[in-house]
Amino acid sequence: MRQRIVGIADMQVSTEDSEVLVTYSLGSCIGLAIYDPEARVGGLLHFMLPDSSLDPSKARQKPGMFADTGVPLLFKTAYTMGLQKQRARVIVVGGAQILDDSGYFNIGKRNYAMLRKILWRNNVLIDAEDVGGNLNRTLYLEVGTGRAWVKTPGQEMREL
């Protein structure tokens, strides 16, 4: 199967049965995978930060950088390729933390909180997730089947 890599602050949507969308290095960043089993449309977003009000011009340039611009863009792009929200399976991976008691380095938690808020407002439920902890994760989404896998260093791949 051909891998299509989703970089940091990037997003890809595919209808190619032979493709696997993959995103590496999910630390505090979050990988959001969506899949419509009927239309066989899969999309994957790798966002870095929760809130685009930080820098609206960057958000225009690179909407995948922020949750509040990347998530709508992912869904909208997938809609144009046939995905329907009510059929979509939604998978969330990442949002890890370093060993920080002060709470200052909590981008992971803030990313996850923002994502939940956006999905909740849009009546989208999360079907499977692997978030938090201090793990560095890789997320795979098979476009032909919708199967999603997470890989952490030193561990076998795990299906979500």
Binding site: I5, V6, G7, I8, A9, D10, Y24, S25, L26, G27, S28, C29, M48, L49, P50, D51, L54, D55, K58, Q61, K62, M65, G94, A96, Q97, I98, L99, D100, D101, S102, Y104, F105, N106, I107, G108, R110, N134, L135, N136, R137, P153, G154
Partner: protein, 287 residues
């Protein structure tokens, strides 16, 4: 015998630090150094000269005229810019190999190091300091101890991982406990052996210490912070990178909110994309 002894003996096996880069760094210790002196040092290395010219002529710099000589390149880039390019290439040779002992793929450590180096410059601007090639270099080389410790960390991979997972140790603490030395300390020793400027050695050796801007040099604090931010984002975090401890109260002492840090991260990422294209790492490649 301490478990660290064979590791210290193995220091002799590590590749030497590129002499042209070292000479250029030492010259740059004097901020007033004339460009002609830098030119003298660099021009005798044809490989580096060629690469510098190739980069200067790439579309990203957008120079209108073709850059045909090192002299022209130096005028366009300035002393600092030239040395930064030099150390970035020099570091690529040192840091590009995969490090399975740390769960790092080929070029992953180099990419992490370039990200840290770039981020230090964003952080320097944030604390109203001018950009600084020494800090850039310290950040670029902060994990150099890993290239030597990789073999030993690989042999004790599971043992180190277990300590991190079950004893709540940071990756660095676990490494020190199992191997008798950690990559920061070892990197500092390596830097001394290479005769790197003392300021850079200290940034390498202390990049995991609980530094504080009231007591420690700003350079050391910012290399620490840049490393923490990059591993947090998963850039070159490898097998255990997120098990890192930030210096307590560092952000508080700098007077920053989490949002200040977010802004630095976002600025740095855009700059990094530019550099990545410049050096020829695929844009969507494994970070």
């Amino acid at each position: 015998m301490s478990p660290a002894e064979p590791i210290l003996e193995a220091m002799d096996k590590v590749k030497p630090f590129p002499q042209v880069v070292l000479k250029a760094l030492n010259l740059l210790q004097d901020p007033e150094v004339p460009a002609s002196k830098l030119l003298e040092v660099i021009q005798y290395d044809p490989v580096i000269t060629l690469r510098l010219l190739q980069v200067c002529n790439s579309a990203l710099f957008g120079f209108r005229r073709r850059v045909e000589s090192l002299q022209q390149a130096l005028v366009l880039l300035g002393n600092q810019g030239m040395v930064r390019l030099l150390v970035t290439f020099g570091a690529l040779e040192l840091l590009r190999d995969p490090l399975p002992g740390y769960g790092l793929e080929r070029e992953e450590l180099w990419h992490h190091s370039v990200a840290c180096a770039t981020l230090t410059q964003t952080l320097l601007r944030q604390v109203k300091h001018p950009e600084d090639t020494m800090v850039f270099t310290g950040a670029l080389l902060h994990d150099v101890g890993k290239i030597l410790l990789n073999e030993y960390a690989g042999k004790k991979y599971l043992e180190i991982n277990l300590l991190v997972a079950e004893k709540d140790l940071s990756a660095l603490e676990a490494e020190k406990e199992v191997l008798g030395i950690d990559h920061a300390e070892l990197g500092g020793l390596l830097g001394e052996r290479w005769n790197l400027p003392p300021g850079i050695v200290s940034m390498i050796a202390r990049h995991h210490e609980p530094v504080h801007p009231g007591k420690d040099p700003m350079a050391v604090c910012l290399v620490h912070l840049a490393n923490i931010v990059c591993v947090q984002m998963g850039i070159g975090a490898g097998a255990r990178g997120l098990a890192s401890r930030p210096a307590p109260d560092l952000l508080l002492a700098l007077g920053w909110s989490p949002r200040t840090l977010d802004a630095c991260v976002s600025d740095c990422w855009c700059e990094l994309e530019r550099i990545r294209t410049l050096i020829g790492i695929p844009q969507n490649g494994r970070a």
